[in-house]
């Protein structure tokens, strides 16, 4: 499959982000449910699609938040009922995605994940992700 040209050009991978760095994705309440096979709440594959506006999937770097002496709960402010899923940069790159820093004025850890995301990739992200902040019971 490979990295799409527009991703390589506009959202190039930053190799200085180590493979073990945790990338956090907010998951809205409509995107998690109880999986009887796993015996736990899990995110849907729909939680790992690119944005509707054409922008790549947004995530947040845990290492930056913690290096700033803060808590990952800061990216949950104003998002009652959400959970926070975590994948490593290495996991994400293994599916032909770039990990591109995109700090925002309001959130320095903002990062974009660019690459083709067929359903199989979204399912894989959902299956591999772990909860950094699990859904509230």
């Amino acid at each position: 499959m490979g990295i799409p040209e527009d991703c390589a050009k506009n959202f190039p991978n930053d190799p200085t982000i180590a493979g073990g760095v945790a990338l956090l994705r907010r998951v809205p309440p409509k995107h998690f449910y109880f999986d009887e096979n796993l015996g736990r709440l899990r995110p849907s594959s729909a939680a790992f699609e690119d944005d509707q506006d054409g922008d790549p999937m947004s995530v947040y770097r845990r290492d930056i938040i913690e290096a700033e002496g803060d808590n990952i709960r800061r990216i949950m402010v104003g998002h009652e009922g959400y959970a926070l899923a975590s994948l490593t940069a290495g996991q994400i790159r293994s599916r032909d995605q770039t990990v591109h820093p995109d700090p925002l004025p309001e959130e320095s850890s903002h990062t974009q994940v660019c690459g083709s995301k067929p359903k199989s990739t979204c399912r894989w992200f959902a299956a591999q992700s772990e909860w950094a902040i699990p859904p509230q019971a």
Binding site: K30, Y33, E36, D51, Q52, K119
Partner: protein, 190 residues
């Protein structure tokens, strides 16, 4: 907060004109059929409904979903329709990023598929909105994973797998209806 209401109607031999004339009556005088135990009880163990019509309309902040079928509708079906209807109140950006509202045509298609494939003995699916206004119907039970993707009324596909048995990779639903039914029967234990 937008309001969504579902009206289920079981229609027996009424002409279209009669159905249409009843539609508004149903929406305004029977705001919550789901709350009427008699309706639910009567539907238990009935075969899947054959849909006559699905009407979705907005009236101010409220969204009304009206389902007309030629058989009583099972609690499982009604619960699933309620989950679909619930998605229609999602505002743009509902996922904290830039998701679209759910397309009414996709909701209508989801209800049609539920009527066709959801048997009364089955668990209701997880009904999941997608960022582009689509809907996913998902079952993860009895060791089986099934996901139906409704990206538009004419772009419906599904994926299914069972550990140690095999899987159906992403395939369009059209032409593979029996395959999907077979997977769903495994979830229902039949």
């Amino acid at each position: 907060m937008p309001e969504t209401k579902i009206v289920g109607e079981n229609e027996y031999g009424l002409s279209d004109a009669a159905i249409l004339s009843e539609r508004w009556l149903s929406a305004t005088t029977l705001p919550d059929v789901l709350a009427r135990p008699a309706v639910i009880t009567a539907a238990v163990e009935q075969p899947s409904p054959v849909l006559r019509r699905v009407v979705i309309r907005k009236q101010g902040p409220a969204v009304f979903v009206e389902v007309y079928a030629n058989r009583p509708m099972s609690p499982t079906f009604l619960k699933s329709v309620e989950a679909v209807a619930d998605l229609l109140s999602l505002p743009p950006g509902w996922n904290s990023y830039s998701a679209s509202s759910i397309d009414h045509e996709n909701a209508r298609q989801a209800i049609r598929l539920l009527a066709e494939f959801l048997k009364p003995s089955m668990l209701p699916p997880s009904v999941v909105p997608t960022v582009r206004g689509g809907i996913q119907l998902e079952w993860h039970a009895r060791g089986v994973n099934v996901e139906i993707y409704i990206e538009s009324p004419n772009a419906v596909s599904f994926f299914a797998e069972e550990a140690g048995i095999g899987k159906s990779p992403d395939v369009p639903l059209s032409g593979h209806e029996r395959e999907l039914s077979s997977w769903l029967e495994r979830i229902s234990g039949k």
